[in-house]
Amino acid sequence: MAQVIIGQILNGIILGSLYGIVALGVTMTFGITGIVNFALGQFMMIGGYAAWYFTDRAMLPFPIAGVLAILIAAFAGLIADRGLFRFTRNNLVNGLLVSIGLISVVECVALLLFTTTPKNMDFVIPGSWTIGAITLPRMKVATFLLLLAVIGLTWWGLARTWLGRATRAYAQNPEAAMLMGVQTEVLQTGVVVYSCALAGLGGALYAGLFSLEPSMGSLFILKGVEAAILAGVGNLLGALAGGLILGVTESVGSLYLPTAFRDAYGLVFLVAILLFRPAGLFGGPK
């Protein structure tokens, strides 16, 4: 039994880190620019399909395919920001509705291009490590470490570099930041594009582990929003922790409680957090 539990915890960690990368995007766009991008899950799907196409069809090595996938997702994000999201800044309802429109359009294109048949590809890094009775597929470990590194670097970049300081200043007071010489328009677009690139990376890694379907985006955005709120919107490292908590609870929870309610744990968590700790698990008192 212990073996099964540990196995589920590890699965939960992998899934949770994927939730975390989406949550990071949600937290950054909403916390910094005030834009609500609920279509991030679809950017993840774009990244996933791009990675699958370049490895499985164009026969490129996976790292190159991954970079291309990130670039494509980032470019899609650039178009979406310039064309749509910059008009919805600080307007939740419009942002939500524009995202919904975008979700339908992107899913429609994906359905036409790739149909509903799930797309699989081989594990890029085959084999696994065995520790005692536990097997660790190498690809999963690599995925987790990569996501961990990216989230860590993002946090470091925001906390320590000049650009990060400018970004935080912008989040607090856009006008004051502009007066101090921050190019706010560029910065805002940059944050949205970066979050889409992150989602693209998540999608590429997801494609390496699981099978792709055009409808995968909705699940991830829901979990991403849950994880971001769990940690407190604006908390970058918390987004990863939120994702991990969510992933592990779901995986372990489904061992003991009916699996049908797997998606309910996150929701119950979410409501409880918002009611009793509105600033998030790791936030100070509001």
Partner: protein, 311 residues
């Protein structure tokens, strides 16, 4: 009372066109219009973006049918049971949300979470709800009409008049509510909640009231919808159902009672006018939504109102 005048010509449509397709599209317009108007009581009225109306819509369908089966009562009495359930749930959810002062994004997320939880319960309570398959609703509502005794509402034409009359009733109710002192207090909350509170408006009670009433209207739409289509399924409670109503309201215009109706008409009839595959249709629907939000933020009705101030 202008929206009621717009509804008047619709009573004469069947005299000129017996076309089943036209009437069916209009029936769906009316049904979803009731849902959208219900949603707009709390969104257009009090400015709270709720995502719970799909849950109320679904419960309306399920509870009405199940209580008809369980107690052997008529549609209307069955719907009273549904209203009771929806009222209790709304007060519970609304009390939690408003007591903890959840606003905007967080209110939307928490009501969506509660709606999803409700959907999961309906989906997994297989012994009662028959899970994903849903239930076939073979009963029909009955009405007592003078001179005709009890009439079963069957066929397109009776349904057309039943749904149109129900819609007119809901429109009238919504208009009266918005013009009453309650409606004015709700407007005050929408425009500036802190100020409204300072001026002595009990914001908690008003929001809770609007939320509950809105959900009851949504449950009415759900009950009629389930009995018209002949089945109820968990998809009635899905987030996408909430989003449809929101899209209709926004497309038509938030600031008037007519808005949700116009939006419901456009979004219900458009897919039937253009022959397209299901996937492309959803894509076009999304594109329309984006264009409307960015190009005409006050909705279709707003285009015709010019710059006049709308209460």
């Amino acid at each position: 009372m202008k929206p009621l005048l717009f509804l008047l010509p619709l009573y004469f449509v069947p005299l000129f066109s017996g076309n089943e397709v036209v009437l069916t599209i209009l029936i769906f317009t009316f049904l979803l219009g009731i849902l959208a108007i219900g949603f707009n009581i709390v969104f257009g009225g009090a400015g709270q973006l709720t995502m719970f109306h799909a849950a109320a819509f679904g419960i309306g369908g399920y509870a009405t049918y199940l209580s008809m089966q369980a107690f052997g009562v008529s549609f209307w009495l069955g719907h009273v049971v549904a209203i009771a359930i929806v009222t209790v749930l709304s007060i519970l959810v609304g009390w939690i949300c408003f007591k903890f002062r959840l606003k905007e994004f967080y209110f939307a997320v928490v009501t969506m979470a509660f709606a999803e939880l409700t959907r999961l319960v309906v989906l997994n309570w297989t012994s009662v709800t028959n899970g994903t398959l849903g239930l076939l609703v073979l009963d029909k509502p009955t009405l007592w009409l003078p001179g005709m005794q009890l009439v079963r509402i069957e066929g397109t034409l009776p349904w057309y008049y039943l749904t149109l009359t129900s819609l007119s009733g809901v429109v009238l109710f919504s208009l009266l509510l918005m013009r009453s002192w309650i409606g004015r207090n709700l407007s005050a909350i929408r425009l500036n909640e802190d100020l409204a509170q300072t001026l002595g408006v009990n914001t908690f009670r008003h929001k809770l009231f609007a939320f509950t009433v809105s959900n009851i209207v949504a449950s009415f739409a759900g009950a009629l919808y389930g009995f018209y289509t002949g089945y109820v399924e968990p998809a009635y409670l899905a987030v996408s159902q909430s989003l449809d109503a929101i899209a209709m309201t926004l497309l038509g215009g938030v600031s008037s009672t007519l808005g949700p109706l116009v939006g419901s008409f456009i979004l219900t009839s458009l897919p039937h006018l253009i022959e397209l595959s299901a996937e492309v249709r959803i894509g076009i629907y999304g594109a329309i939504l984006i264009l409307v939000i960015l190009v005409m933020p006050r909705g279709v009705v707003g285009l015709f109102q010019g710059r006049r101030h709308v209460s």
